[in-house]
């Protein structure tokens, strides 16, 4: 009968170390900046590797709690890192399946009495063996409405986070100040989360590198003039309200692509490979950010 259950394979410690080094190198390549985040991931990786080595010597302890809270301004890569985290934890052997279930308040909190618990439990069941990512987690709890069903979802979450650590990793994400207020109202939550990771804003150089990465993935490139123009663009855009870091960069690039397309479209028949892939300075400089008048606060620059 025992043959029905396959034995779990345990890789050697040296393999694990090499795998972790490779993983961290990959992370370094794919994510620009975010030094504190990478440091924390390296620490977690080391902890898990040491834990596994300890287990081989019969020093098994309870599994470490890996619930995390990602705070930071918009566009600093919280969701991207959460997506990667699921894969990382899977490769480190902590999470069994390594999938990510991304939810918001709507997926957890019900509409009427008795609706919330089954809804939350269903989401939790789907996330078991992987990572549950709750974006903008502070919406779960609305202190101004005492009959809000969010509290019920919070309680079920807390219970599972405490009792089924080996089945599920919960990652909360949101803006720093609002998360802090959320934790103030739910002290149990803050204490059950071992890792509070703050995502710093990107510097201009980092944003330029991000732009280069994004362009490469889209199959475009800047010429020298466009690069300089984009640097000037970033300088101005960063000073304006509602700057959303990498997200603003992506939006700016998308709009540059639009302008590039309408420029090339006029003479589409004679467009060669170079014309089709090169974004020039005028594509960037047409942005509204370069207009002198102030007062526009919208994101469409």
């Amino acid at each position: 009968m025992a043959a029905l259950v396959a034995p779990a394979s345990q890789p050697a410690a040296a393999d694990v170390a090499a795998d972790i080094a490779q993983l961290l190198a990959e992370l370094d390549r794919e994510l620009v900046g975010l030094a504190p985040v990478k440091k924390r991931i390296a620490e977690i990786a080391a902890l898990l590797a040491v834990d596994r080595a300890r287990a081989q010597h019969g020093l098994a302890g309870p599994p470490p709690g890996l619930h995390m809270c990602f705070t930071g301004n918009p566009g600093t890569g919280k969701t991207t890192v959460a997506m990667k985290m699921a894969g990382i934890l899977h490769r480190l052997g902590y999470s069994r399946k390594g999938h990510l279930v991304a939810v918001t308040r709507d997926d957890l909190v019900g509409q009427y009495i008795g609706h919330t618990a089954p809804k939350t439990k269903e989401v939790l069941k789907r996330a078991m063996g992987g990572v549950l990512f709750i974006d903008e987690a502070y919406y779960l709890y609305r202190p101004e409405n005492e009959r809000d069903y969010g509290q019920e979802a919070v309680e079920i979450l807390l219970q599972v986070m405490e009792n089924q650590r080996e089945d599920l990793v919960v990652i909360l994400a949101g803006y720093k100040d609002r998360m802090d207020r959320f934790f103030e109202c739910n002290p149990g939550f803050a204490s059950r989360i071992a890792h509070h990771v703050d995502f710093p804003d990107y510097s201009r150089e980092e944003l330029m590198r991000i732009a280069a990465l994004m362009l490469e993935r889209m199959g475009y490139r800047f010429d020298a003039g466009a690069r300089a123009a984009f640097e000037r663009y970033l300088e101005r855009r960063m000073a304006r309200p509602h700057f959303a870091n990498a997200r603003s960069v992506r939006n700016a690039l998308d709009r540059a692509r639009l302008r590039h397309a309408s420029r090339v479209f006029v003479k589409l028949a004679e467009a060669d490979r170079d014309t089709l892939t090169t974004i020039v300075a005028s594509d960037i400089l047409a942005s509204r950010v370069f207009e002198q008048e102030e007062g526009t606060t919208d994101e469409h620059g």
């Binding site: 009968m1 029905l4 259950v5 789907r126 078991m128």
Partner: protein, 139 residues
């Protein structure tokens, strides 16, 4: 008399680790797993009571194990089974079904003979436990 319905029922009861492995197999194939219970074990009783909704989009057996445990705790004296439903076009049916909980004592079935027209005799079976009303069987 040990009830033999569904897969693995001629084997000793599956351990939790074995049940988990079976559920993992079902999920790997993309089948929706559900938990059902009954205290009417007649072989023709195809549709048992559902314990919660069938579970779609699961990746890991932990959620199913949790449901199985909850069902066993709620109905310790009933039969509990796990079904795996394959929604692939052309199949659209239960692909695997096995019992994961039984009452402590299984009294078995009575063979009932009914005289019919002429010298014809009709046979039927019914569980001894079914003599008692629903909800009070296997106590």
């Amino acid at each position: 008399m040990r009830v033999t319905q569904g897969a693995f029922s001629f084997l000793p009861d599956l351990s939790d680790a074995q049940i988990r492995a079976q559920v993992e197999y079902c999920l790997k194939n993309g089948w929706a797993v559900s938990v059902e219970h009954t205290d009417d074990i007649h072989p023709r009783n195809t549709y048992w009571e559902m314990f919660g909704m069938p579970m779609f989009d699961l990746h890991d057996a932990a959620g199913v194990m949790q449901e199985i445990d909850a069902c066993r705790k709620t109905f310790p004296n009933e039969y509990v089974r796990v079904n795996a439903f394959d929604s692939t076009r052309g199949w659209e049916t239960v692909r695997l079904s096995f019992i994961v909980n039984r009452p402590p004592a299984e009294p078995g079935f009575r063979l009932r003979r009914t005289e019919a027209e002429g010298r014809v005799q009709r046979y039927s079976i019914e569980a001894y436990a079914a003599d008692r009303p629903h909800g009070e069987r296997y106590r």
